[in-house]
Chain length 194, copies 2
Amino acid sequence: MLTVFGDIRSGNCLKVKWLLDRLGRDHQWVETDIMSGASRTPEFLAINPAGQTPTVVLEDGRPLAQSNAILLYFAEGTPFIPTDAYARARMMEWLFWEQYSHEPYVAVARFQRLYLGKSAEEIEPRLMERGRAALERLEDALAGRDWLVGDAPTVADLALVAYTRAAHEGGFDLTPLPNLRAWIQRVEAAFAIG
Amino acid sequence: MLTVFGDIRSGNCLKVKWLLDRLGRDHQWVETDIMSGASRTPEFLAINPAGQTPTVVLEDGRPLAQSNAILLYFAEGTPFIPTDAYARARMMEWLFWEQYSHEPYVAVARFQRLYLGKSAEEIEPRLMERGRAALERLEDALAGRDWLVGDAPTVADLALVAYTRAAHEGGFDLTPLPNLRAWIQRVEAAFAIG
């Protein structure tokens, strides 16, 4: 059976779970607690030498890592990946932007608060600034549109909603970002995120 | 004509130039100096609201950003993207890993030395540690193989060689990494990187 090694509190891991559930793909979830070193054991490193979650092991035993690469693999051929070459490219642009300019700030601030127990004052101001800039960029990009790319939800929406919907846990205030708040609800509905 | 806005010292920008040159795609290069704010002008932000280089403007005027998304767009249908679904997924895995676990350390250390003029002692030790870990992971992944994915060069090799070949400028020593050094030469030859 398809196996997902993931931490159920991690947006990167939840992305994968949400897509598989939405596509009706049976899978086994192996809870992998990064805080207790479960992603650094010799057994885990044999599957993914990068020691990162999520990592999936396909039915034939082959591994695959990197949340957005996993989304692309399973969503190929579904309506969640556009067929038009330019629309696909824009979706890719958002996926790379998510991992480079959004996750390292929005998710990391949340990680420091939630996992490491830091107070608001202990979070590096640069982290909050860049996180806010990423959220504001999303707010602007969503002005007058329902989805990040084209007229339907794609894996770009799924990838970006994961930590955006949890941004308040990192101390980010979404109140002044109405496009973003409405989009979160749309994406949650489209992917049946509880 | 296809236009590339980029900084010629930036590995992320050079990736795009190398691929376009290799594919014989005519393009205009607009040198965009991020240090003098050229990627933060209202004109540039109208093209790419993220204010990041490289950004390309296609022949029909539509913009596209994020170096690896740009590589995927132009390389689609060429031998540099595998057709097998799993091989494609592994290529994607390396592309996302590059932007998340390699570039933010290997490229950023180089940026601080080269662009900001910091000395070796002024570079945050964590940056060097994580950069070394990324380079060692590549060294291990290349044991007994010529290319990162399958039996031929892909855009994953191109994306990862960009800052790896310049890692010494960030203070990283590639001497103890023979697989990596041999692979750099292979990738440079495959993509005619001078």
